[in-house]
């Protein structure tokens, strides 16, 4: 029954992306091309990040939390934001509204992230006889990541694509974007520095992703009212 387990974990990890695409108007407007392009941009960003990590980061012997290394990783994490900026602004998209653009980009981004980071461990590990909860937790993490990516894309599109924003909301938008962008560093701090176990970290991720999604939705609708 181990292929069964693999199948279960796979639909938990990748199912929501497909469901999101088919359930929302994205499928009606055929925005698959945008998502694919966003996924490719994510690949490119990941390569650049890896090269930077390999160049600047020291390999530490112990698994402890080194603030300088983590700071460096956070800075390199901003390359993610740069990639998202590139995907949102520089690529030529078909004539689709702002609303759907960020969703499609966020979806493609999150799907590429899941495939790159979670498909290989799933294929190798979940098919074995030994049972662990890790893969189910990983799937939940992928869900949280999807929500976070879409919120980040929403905030990104607010920052770079919308020209007329209410002045008061701008700092909030930037802070939220900053928090979402540094989520990886925060989770790694929790895991290494505070020593939280994987289930606790996943619960935290789910909670924060839902709250950030809610906040960015409010911000988005707030910015939409004037126009």
């Amino acid at each position: 029954m181990t292929m069964f387990h693999f199948f279960n974990c796979a639909i938990l990890t990748f199912g929501p992306h497909a469901v999101y695409y088919s359930a929302t108007p994205l499928s009606e407007y055929d925005t698959l091309g945008t998502s694919v392009k966003a996924a490719l941009v994510y690949l490119g960003t990941a390569l650049v990040k890896l090269v930077c990590l390999a160049t600047f980061l020291k390999v530490s012997e112990n698994d402890g939390f080194d603030p300088y290394q983590e700071l460096l990783k956070a800075v390199i994490g901003f390359i993610d934001v740069a990639g998202l900026y590139f995907a949102l602004t520089q690529l030529t998209h078909r004539n689709i509204s702002q609303n759907h653009k960020f969703q499609a980009v966020g979806l493609g981004w999150a799907f590429a992230d899941s495939v790159l980071h979670r498909l290989a461990p799933l294929w190798v590990g979940a098919r074995g006889l030994e049972f662990t909860w890790d893969f189910i937790l990983q799937g939940l993490e992928a869900n949280a990541n999807l929500v976070l990516s879409i919120s980040l894309a929403a905030l990104g599109s607010l920052m770079w694509l919308r020209k007329n924003k209410p002045k008061t909301l701008i700092p909030i938008i930037y802070t939220c974007a900053g928090i979402v962008a540094t989520m990886p560093s925060i989770t790694s701090y929790l895991r290494r520095g505070l020593g939280w176990h994987f289930p606790k970290v996943v619960v935290f991720e789910l909670f924060t992703s839902l709250s950030m999604a809610f906040i960015s939705w409010q911000l988005f609708s707030a910015c939409q009212r004037p126009s």
Binding site: T24, P25, A46, P121, G125, E130
Partner: protein, 562 residues
């Protein structure tokens, strides 16, 4: 080395190649290869045929759920492996299971650390003896039974102890492991065991020539010192036989070393040839010794004055036995026995004489000297055991580990034999002369004995699994070459009565598995989660009407066309 954005095309290619490789490596590092809950080395029960009847465990591959002794009565164990630690073994229970041929998936016996070479600690002596006897009894039961499922032995360690505690807890609640309730699964993926083709037995002999006086054309008389070096036990990969007959081999090597020192100088070379024999095939009625003797020249055989066979001299306190087949009144026997007794008295050892007639029509050969006696050569076996062992008993099994052998006993035994031989060779019988005195240059070397004993206690030596060029056999040959003038190896095929099967050790993987119901439940939960997510997204982005219209499209179309 900053990544310059204006790099030329060539440099860009190089860097992207490097990044791809780095990506692959980091991906690989991210992949957590899922391993078993525990993986331990296990050793299989021997599988052999004797005169056509099958004995031992007939299967090697294992893929069943684990159960402990606390299983609920009436549970079906035909697809379960019973894990039994030796301390909790109830021998009647196992005997019942085997004799009544009750169906079982497999057996796994856990042996305490004292029986392993590396980890043997110092426990209470009382417990050691009890466990030793229990293990000996278990071994005899298993060797002589035909068991249609795999039986394995393993040493206790922390991993398997935690797994076993978990299994016991589950069994106590009443949830033995089956395919639907989860638990632990034991997997040993080995191919079916095959027959060992033409098992060889190798006899090694070393010849130390005596001093021939000028003009003396007669053959010098010879004294033979023999020990069999191979073992037989319930688990061939663990049959190290420290006492039977590791002690004999070590003693023989030390005696060879001492006499080679004496014989190296022509002034102290005796008028006797010395023949050292390390024979194989001991557990199988001393088959190897028989073949070795048969290969001798008639003249050589007649020139042998007498032969001393050494067997199990590693764990005695004060008493040794000399076993003979010729009647005690025989002149030669008297001479040998008196020689030994005199030296023994000086060393505060008691030596007894045991006489057992040989029966040529009976193929059973209980002691090595009987093979000599069948060919009319005077011989005696020196041993700490007073009774004759049965076939395949006392041949160095699982319980015969390093813990139970005492180097001092071997040292004293070596001194006894060497002094007796030397007094006979140099004609000092009855005189109180200490040739191998302690502290002198010819003293028995305890460090030599200890190091060889340690080596022997780590080397399993079941003859069919020792090839012709096995490193251990070569080591014995080299050692004898150092101490003697001429060394010969004789390779023979083990007699057709015994057939052995391979696959003696394997790696056991213990997996913690989830039950089928868990997987189905998970599928149900995930399916409903995805459906809920789908409906939620449709409602929030397109409105509730859209969701309902997904289910009501066919009728509305009909209405439209109409």
């Amino acid at each position: 080395m900053a990544l310059s954005k204006n790099s030329g095309g060539h440099r860009g290619m190089q860097e992207s190649m490097y990044s791809v490789i780095a990506l692959v490596f980091i991906l690989v590092a991210c992949v957590e290869l899922c391993d078993a809950a525990a993986a331990i080395d296990v050793y299989r029960l021997i599988q052999y045929d004797m005169s056509g009847s099958a004995y031992g465990s007939r299967f090697a591959a294992l893929n069943h759920h684990a159960a402990s002794l606390h299983f609920p009565p009436g549970a079906d164990l035909s697809r379960a492996v019973l894990i039994i630690p030796l301390r909790e073994l109830n021998i009647t229970f196992v005997r019942e299971y085997i004799n009544q041929k009750k169906p079982l998936g497999g057996l796994l016996f856990l042996l305490p650390d004292i029986f392993s070479f590396e980890n043997g600690g110092n426990k209470q002596v009382h417990e050691k003896e009890q466990l030793k006897n229990l293990l000996a009894e278990l071994e005899q039961l298993l060797i002589h039974a035909n068991i249609p499922y795999p039986v394995y032995f393993a040493f206790e360690n922390d991993e398997i102890d935690t797994v076993l505690a978990d299994i016991k807890k589950n069994d106590a609640i009443g949830q033995p492991a089956t395919a639907t309730t989860g638990g632990y699964k034991l997997v040993i993926p080995t191919p079916e065991p095959k027959k060992v083709a033409s098992p060889t037995i190798t006899n090694i002999q070393g010849w130390l020539s005596g001093l021939k006086a000028d003009g003396d054309t007669n053959q010098l008389p010879t004294i033979a010192i023999v020990a069999s070096y191979d073992t037989f036990g319930a688990a061939p990969a663990l049959s190290v036989g420290s006492d039977s007959n590791g002690s004999g081999v070590v003693a023989l090597l030390e005696i060879a070393r001492l006499f080679s020192l004496l014989y190296s100088n022509p002034k102290t070379r005796g008028r006797y040839n010395l023949l050292f024999g390390l024979t194989s095939g001991g557990p199988y009625n001393y088959n190897g010794t028989q073949k070795w003797l048969r290969s001798f020249d008639q003249r050589l055989r007649e020139s042998i004055d007498y032969a001393i066979c050494l067997n199990s001299i590693g764990s005695w306190d004060n008493e040794l036995w000399i076993h003979v087949s010729k009647p005690p009144e025989n002149g030669y026997i008297k001479q040998i026995f008196e020689g030994f007794s005199n030296v023994a008295e000086e060393m505060d050892i008691k030596v007894g004489l045991k006489h057992k007639k040989i029966n040529i029509s009976n193929p059973r050969v209980a002691r090595e000297h009987e093979q000599f006696s069948r060919l009319r050569v005077t011989a005696a076996t020196l041993s700490e055991i007073s009774t004759a062992p049965e076939l395949l008993q006392g041949t160095g099994g699982l319980y015969d580990s390093r813990q139970f052998v005492n180097e001092t006993a071997i040292t004293r035994g070596v001194k006894l034999v060497a002094e007796s031989l030397a007094r006979h060779i140099y004609g000092h019988q009855g005189k109180n002369v200490q040739i191998f005195a302690d502290g002198g240059s010819l003293a028995v070397n305890p460090a030599y004995i200890q190091s060889w004993l340690d080596l022997l206690s780590q080397t399993p030596r079941v003859a069919p699994f020792l090839s012709k060029n096995d490193p251990f056999v070569m080591a014995l040959k080299k050692e004898l070459t150092d101490h003697t003038d001429e060394v010969n190896m004789q390779h023979e095929v083990l007699e057709g009565v015994f057939t052995f099967y391979d696959s003696t050790s394997a790696r056991l993987n213990i997996y913690q598995v989830a039950s089928v119901t868990f997987d189905l439940l998970l599928l149900l939960v995930l399916g409903s989660y995805l459906i809920v997510l789908f409906s939620f997204l449709v409602i929030t982005t397109r409105g509730l009407d859209d969701l309902i219209s997904l289910f009501r499209r066919p009728p509305s179309r009909k209405v439209k066309t109409a």
